[in-house]
Amino acid sequence: MTLETGRKELRLYVIGFALAATLTAVPFAVVASGTVPRDVSGWVIALCALLQAMVHFRYFLHIDFSRQKREDLQLVLFSVLLLAIMAGGTIWVLANLSARMMP
């Protein structure tokens, strides 16, 4: 029983590692090739980063939607919400200001 569980957990780490490695390799390959237009590569980088962060949380940090872990999930989600407001707001306001000050 214990051995079985251990093997299952090991498999989850291997799956997480394989997913994370793929999601790292794709944006690096896109940038290294240099043939992809800049706005497309930007979206690929952002999407892969978001997915990879979710893979890390799921497989390495073991945050998921199971019942026992609700408080911690809420803590993470609330922190991310605060961060999105503060960081997103900063970038928005300053990018707007920068565009208006361009000669």
Binding site: T2, T5, G6, E9, L10, Y13, G16, F17, A20, A21, T24, P27, F28, V30, V31, A32, R38, S41, G42, I45, A46, C48, A49, Q52, A53, H56, F57, F60, L61, H62, I63, D64, S66, Q68, K69, E71, D72, L73, L75, V76, S79, V80, L82, L83, M86, A87, G88, T90, I91, L94, A95, S98, M101, M102
Partner: protein, 207 residues
């Protein structure tokens, strides 16, 4: 109620550590609160960096293309990701009290030091090229963001070294086990922050 029921996120220590398993719930939640405050800190520095990554912020000085190397960034990324995986193996060895624990911790420590070595080499090269913090707003933000992550990794390496000594001296006592469980959260968290660093700073700068 079985002793294996998960009580908190992160790898639960489970039935091989009954006392530590029970004690870990509060400790892990508290550590998550710290990690999330750290995430806010990193996020704000990221926002500063993003706001200064434009021609005005670069003030006619060096641009990402002048100072970054995609190869070096890819090597650092691969090393850090691999170290996250080897720490996962260490966590499993801890959970099932296997003797391989110290070996995986040592491998993780070596990978962490290799990462720091590469990053330090890049930073020294940047100083040699005149890409110092006072050159432009963009470089100031870079020198806050990337070394801040590096300092975290350095702290993680120190913590790893201390835990290697503690595991050797005290064995897997309740305190040692719960400390290792928190260190694993810290280490995996730093790898998540690195996703942001390589995506925003290196890939974003070189795309």
């Amino acid at each position: 109620m079985t002793q294996d029921a998960p009580r908190h996120p992160g790898l639960n220590l489970g039935r091989h550590h009954p006392e530590a398993h029970a004690e870990n719930e509060k400790l892990m939640f508290g550590f998550w609160v710290f990690l999330m405050s750290d995430l806010i800190l990193f996020g704000i520095v990221f926002a500063t960096y993003a706001s200064l990554t434009n021609p005005m912020g670069q003030a006619g000085g060096p641009t990402p293309r002048d100072v970054f190397s995609l190869t070096s960034a890819a090597m650092q990324t691969a090393i850090l990701l691999l170290s996250s995986f080897t720490f996962g193996l260490a966590s499993l060895a801890l959970k099932y009290r296997q003797p391989s624990l110290r070996a995986w911790l040592a491998v993780t420590l070596l990978l962490g030091l290799a990462f720091l070595g590469l990053e330090l080499r890049d930073l020294v090269q940047m100083v040699a090229d005149g890409a110092v913090p006072q050159r432009s707003g963009w470089l100031s933000a870079f020198w806050v963001l990337v070394p801040l992550h590096g300092l975290h990794v350095a702290a993680g390496c120190l913590w790893l070294a201390v835990m290697l000594v503690q595991v050797t001296l005290f064995g897997l006592t309740t305190q040692v086990s719960t400390r290792l469980a928190r260190l694993s959260l810290f280490w995996h968290f730093l790898d998540v922050v690195w996703i942001g660093v390589f995506s925003v700073v290196y890939l974003g700068g070189l795309a």
